[in-house]
C-alpha cells in the first residue's frame, strides 16, 4: 500500500473545520475564536516552514548542520522549561537546573536509539536523528518542567515538615523524599498515561501517521513500542535528574533547607 498524498485541497477542507469552530465560538459567545484561529495559523506556518527547512537539511546531509539544528532545539527546550516555572531559583541555577538533565537525558537516549536500536547509516543521519531528538525532547521537556514546577510550588508549603525531619537528623534527601517521590510521579504521569492508553484508548500519533503513510500496522506498532520506551526512559532520567538537582539547590552541604535561594 502506498502513502496517500495530502493535496492542497485536502488541507483547505481540514482548515475550514477550524474556521467553522471559530465561527461557532463567535455565535455562541465563547470568546475563544481569536486564540483558536491564531493557534491554527501559527501551527500551519510553523509546520510548513519546518517541513521546508528539514527538506534542505536532509538534502545537505551534513553532520555539522545536523548537530547545529539539534543544539538549537535543545536550547529552545531549555529556555522553555525555565520560562514555564512560576517560582525560580536565584542566579544561573534557574537555567541549569532544567537544562542539564534535559540535555543529558535527550542526548543519552537518542544516542542509544541511533547507535544500538535503529542503527541508520551513518548513525547521525539527519533524517533519523532530528525527528528522533525532537520527539524525545518534547516528552523530556514536559516531564522535567512538571516535576520542577511541583518541587518549587510545594517546598514552601511543606517547609515545616522538611525542617522537622532535618532537625531530627535526617539527611536532605531523606527530608525531601516525599516531595521527590511526588514530583517524579507528576513528571512521569503524561508518558505513563500515554503508554497505558496506547493501542486501547488511542492509536499513538506516530503509529497513526505511519499507517496512514502506508506502513504495515505491525511494523508501525514496533516503531511505536520502541519510541514509547525511549520516551519513558528519557522522561524518567530528566525528571529524576531535574528533581534531584532542584533539591540540591534548595538545600546545602550542611543539610539545611535554603528557601532563600528561591524567589
Amino acid at each position: 500500500m502506498s502513502a496517500l498524498m495530502i493535496t492542497p485541497l485536502a488541507l483547505i477542507i481540514t482548515t475550514l473545520l477550524v474556521v467553522l469552530c471559530a465561527a461557532l465560538s463567535l455565535v455562541l459567545a465563547l470568546g475563544v475564536q481569536r486564540q483558536l484561529l491564531w493557534a491554527a495559523l501559527r501551527m500551519m506556518v510553523q509546520l510548513l516552514i519546518v517541513g521546508l527547512f528539514l527538506r534542505q537539511i536532509f538534502a545537505l546531509s551534513s553532520a555539522w548542520l545536523t548537530g547545529l539544528v539539534i543544539c538549537a532545539m535543545l536550547a529552545a527546550a531549555c529556555y522553555e522549561v525555565s520560562a514555564r516555572q512560576e517560582r525560580r531559583l536565584r542566579g544561573i541555577w534557574h537555567y541549569l537546573n532544567g537544562a542539564a538533565p534535559i540535555v543529558a537525558a535527550t542526548l543519552g537516549v537518542a544516542l542509544l536509539a541511533l547507535t544500538l536500536a535503529l542503527q541508520p547509516s551513518p548513525w547521525y543521519d539527519a533524517r533519523h536523528a532530528i525527528p528522533l531528538v525532537g520527539i524525545i525532547l518534547g516528552t523530556v521537556m514536559n516531564s522535567a518542567s512538571l516535576a520542577l514546577n511541583y518541587v518549587f510550588s510545594t517546598v514552601t508549603r511543606e517547609r515545616n515538615a522538611i525542617e522537622a525531619r532535618l532537625a531530627l537528623g535526617a539527611s536532605r534527601y531523606v527530608a525531601f523524599h516525599d516531595i521527590i517521590r511526588r514530583a517524579v510521579r507528576a513528571g512521569l504521569l503524561p508518558i505513563m498515561n500515554q503508554m497505558a492508553a496506547a493501542g486501547i484508548i488511542t492509536l499513538p500519533g506516530l503509529m497513526t501517521g505511519q499507517i496512514l503513510a502506508g506502513m504495515d500496522p505491525t511494523a508501525a506498532a514496533r516503531y511505536q513500542i520502541l519510541l514509547l520506551s525511549l520516551l519513558a526512559g528519557g522522561g524518567f532520567l530528566a525528571t529524576v535528574g531535574a528533581t534531584l538537582l532542584a533539591v540540591r539547590q534548595l538545600s546545602d552541604e550542611r543539610d539545611r533547607l535554603r528557601l532563600d535561594r528561591l524567589r
Partner: protein, 226 residues
C-alpha cells in the same frame, strides 16, 4: 512514672558554643557564647524578635551561621574528648543536639508513622506523662489540637534520645496543667542527663525549670539569676 532510657550515667557531656553569629545583608546577629552541661536546664529569655529562635536554629545548624561549636565528653575513667560540629555531618550533629520548633511540622498521617517501631513502647509511656491518651498514637495528626501537636513533637524528639534538646517555647500552646506536666517531663529528662536549652517568656515557668537564665540582646547573651 516516666521512663526514659538514660545515657550511660557515668558520662558527662557539655555543649560549647563560641563566637556564634550570622551575617546577612540586613543585620549581624551575635557573636554569642554559651555552655550547656548534661543534666542542666538553661532558659533563654529576651524581647520578641531579638533572635532567640534563630539562636537555637543556629546551634542546631538549621540556618547558615559561623562559629565554633563542640560537644565534650568525659567519664570518671577516661580523659575528656572533644567532638567539633565542623568535623561531624549535620545529621549526626542534630541527632545529638535536637531542635524542636514551637510549631513543628509533620510528614506522615499519624504520630505512630513518625516513630521508629522500637520506640513505640517508650512513646506510649511519654504520652501518659504528657497527659495525652494512648490512642493519639493512631489519630490523624491533622485532627489534633495545637497543644496536642506541640507535645507530640516534643515526644518525637525525646524518643530519639538526643544528648541536648533545644526547645523553642515548648508550652506556648498549652494550658496551665498541661504545661506543668510538660515541665515534669523536662525534669525527668534533666535527671537522666539530657541538657536542655529552652526559650521561654513565661516568668513562672522560668523560675520552675531553669538552672540558669540567659538574657538575650542582639549582640550578647547575659547571665542573669534564675
Amino acid at each position: 512514672m516516666l521512663s526514659i532510657t538514660p545515657p550511660a550515667p557515668a558520662v558527662t557531656r557539655s555543649l560549647h558554643v563560641r563566637e556564634l553569629r550570622r551575617t546577612t545583608a540586613e543585620r549581624v546577629i551575635g557573636p554569642y557564647a554559651l555552655s550547656l552541661h548534661s543534666g542542666e536546664c538553661v532558659v533563654v529569655s529576651g524581647p520578641s524578635g531579638v533572635g532567640k529562635s534563630l539562636l537555637l536554629r543556629m546551634i542546631a545548624d538549621l540556618d547558615p551561621n559561623q562559629g565554633e561549636l563542640s560537644i565534650t565528653t568525659s567519664t570518671v575513667d577516661t580523659p575528656m574528648t572533644t567532638h567539633a560540629r565542623a568535623a561531624m555531618s549535620a545529621p549526626a550533629w542534630r541527632k545529638q543536639v535536637t531542635y524542636v520548633a514551637a510549631e513543628s511540622g509533620w510528614w506522615a498521617d499519624t504520630l505512630s508513622d513518625h516513630l521508629h517501631i522500637a520506640s513505640h513502647a517508650q512513646a506510649l509511656t511519654l504520652l501518659a506523662s504528657l497527659g495525652l491518651a494512648s490512642d493519639l498514637m493512631q489519630a490523624p495528626i491533622a485532627r489534633l489540637s495545637s497543644g496536642e501537636r506541640q507535645r507530640c513533637a516534643l515526644l518525637r524528639a525525646i524518643v530519639q534520645q538526643p544528648h541536648f534538646l533545644l526547645l523553642d517555647e515548648p508550652s506556648s500552646a498549652l494550658d496551665g496543667d498541661s504545661a506543668l506536666r510538660l515541665e515534669a517531663v523536662l525534669h525527668s529528662l534533666k535527671n537522666n542527663g539530657t541538657g536542655l536549652l529552652v526559650v521561654s517568656h513565661n516568668a513562672a515557668q522560668i523560675s520552675r525549670i531553669a538552672d540558669r537564665v540567659l538574657y538575650m540582646s542582639s549582640t550578647a547573651l547575659l547571665e542573669s539569676p534564675a
